[in-house]
């Protein structure tokens, strides 16, 4: 059952507390969308830890039904559905330096069309909650893909055209969270400035049966992180 839905325009940032037991569905509203997401735990210290998430599930990308894990080994959210088989976990979020190629911009000149990086937006959102740049950690860049080449250095290339309008990903929130996101372009994207917006819908998650749930059954590591979140809420 949907609780609310809203559109975050391209190049913007947003944050909100989201309670455990909710689904958060992100839908790309244009081609080549990017949504850089940080997850902060209820205590506002623990947070999404991408290296721990990736190594525990032997993956260099985020896909369903992976569990997104925290510094302290909690399952913060599970990726319960995705129309894409790759969400970037290696590229980090954009900085002001990545926008320089688009030329100067300011509120004074461009009003609300001024261009701001994901870092600027995410720090702005974190600051509203009493956090700051120390709380920036690796982001998942939903809808983006940075391809790995099988060479000596594992070279990285951003893939243009990876996602299309209508692509979706759904997270099941496993622990009370602060979700912060930016719809600024991926830092490795090479196209003109035309960031796509993202629709955010929050709804009630159906009851989970660990015996049959895809995330609980994905790997032993996924199940143990989910169990730690269950205990944290006990």
């Amino acid at each position: 059952m949907s609780l609310f839905a809203m559109e975050v325009p391209g190049g913007a940032a947003w944050s909100s507390p989201v309670r455990a037991g909710r689904l958060v569905t992100l839908t790309a509203l244009g081609d080549d969308a990017n949504c850089s997401v940080l997850l902060v735990a209820a205590d506002r210290v623990d947070r999404l830890n991408l290296p721990d998430t990736l190594k525990a599930q032997m993956s260099a990308r985020v896909i369903a039904p992976m569990v997104l894990m925290s510094d302290r080994g909690l399952a913060l959210a599970s990726v319960v559905a995705s129309s894409l088989d790759w969400h970037d976990a290696l590229g980090g979020f954009s900085h002001p330096a990545h926008l320089e190629r688009h030329g100067p911009t300011s509120y004074a000149a461009d009003r609300n069309d001024w261009r701001r990086s994901a870092r600027t937006g995410l720090v702005s959102e974190l600051t509203k909650h009493g956090l700051d740049e120390r709380d920036l950690h690796g982001s998942v860049n939903f809808f983006s893909k940075v391809a790995v080449t099988d060479d000596d250095r594992a070279s990285l290339t951003h893939v243009t055209g990876h996602s299309r309008a209508g692509d979706t990903v759904t997270l099941r929130v496993e622990h009370d969270l602060l979700v912060a996101l930016s719809t600024a372009p991926h830092p490795m994207a090479t196209g003109a400035w035309a960031p796509a917006g993202v629709r955010v819908e929050v709804s009630h998650a159906p009851e989970v049966d660990p015996a049959t749930d895809a995330s609980w059954c994905f790997r032993d590591e996924s199940a143990r992180a989910l169990e730690m979140s269950r205990r944290a809420a006990a």
Binding site: V45, D46, N49, L50, P51, D52, L54, K55, A56, M58, S59, A60, R61, I63, M69, D71, R72, G73, L74, W86, L90, G91, G92, H95, A97, D132, E133, R134, D135, L136, H137, G138, S139, V146, A147, V148, T149, D150, D152, R153, A154, S155, L156, T157, P187, M188, D220, E221, R224, A225, M228
Partner: protein, 210 residues
């Protein structure tokens, strides 16, 4: 210990043996060279770098990887901060590649990866927090670290796993500081995967500050 190690130690400003499972917080001045020697081979040296003037400006694994458009670190890799400042450059590397996506071990992540029976095993995150505390480095200041001497292959199919290391006794990596740094190191105590060859051993830190 190899002859090479003895030869290069002459005139060093720092010569510190870090035992298995121990750590260190080392101030490296701008222009200083810090060498980490894998004395016995296949020993992960979990490392974080901080701008000594402001520990909020810390090493950023993902920014470093993206800006060099490659996953592995080796000679020439610029180690960037969360503000995209160059903190250090890898100026010598006799191993060939090092990991920065595998993160550090923690008691809690050991439970996730290996099970409840590993909860009370020593882990890097405790070492980081203990050695970082005097410099104001707490949980919020712990970013995603470098794992010198560790081998974490990543493939075009999107897989990532831990493999036996490429390092060997006496191999080393050397950083040159681009500004005054604090280097926080945990000599990894992990016993549950091949990152330390199943037997954690000491590393040696050598520094030249001229």
């Amino acid at each position: 210990m190899t002859a090479t190690t003895h030869e290069t130690v002459t005139g060093s400003d720092l010569d510190l043996l870090v035992e298995a499972g121990d750590g260190a917080l080392v101030a490296v001045p701008r222009g200083g060279r810090l060498r980490i020697v894998d004395l016995h081979g296949n020993q992960a040296a979990d490392t974080l770098l901080y701008d000594a003037a402001d520990v909020r400006n810390r090493y950023s694994a993902l920014d470093t990887v993206r800006e060099q458009a490659a996953v592995f670190l080796t000679t020439g890799s610029r180690l960037l901060s969360t503000r995209l400042d160059e903190l250090a450059v890898i100026t010598d590397d006799t191993v060939g590649r090092h990991d920065t996506l595998g993160g550090a071990c923690a008691q809690e992540s050991n439970v996730v990866r290996y099970g409840e029976h590993t909860r009370h095993q020593h882990a890097c995150r405790q070492t980081f927090l203990a050695y970082g505390a005097p410099a104001g480095i707490g949980a919020r200041e712990l970013g995603h670290n470098i794992n010198f001497f560790m081998n974490v292959p990543v493939t075009s199919a999107g897989d990532l796993h831990f493999e036996d290391g490429l390092s060997a006794p006496g191999k080393h990596v050397e950083l040159t500081a681009s500004r005054d740094l604090l280097v926080l190191l945990s000599n990894c105590p992990q016993l549950n995967n091949p990152c330390n060859g199943w037997d954690p051993t000491p590393v040696r830190l050598l520094g030249w500050w001229t």
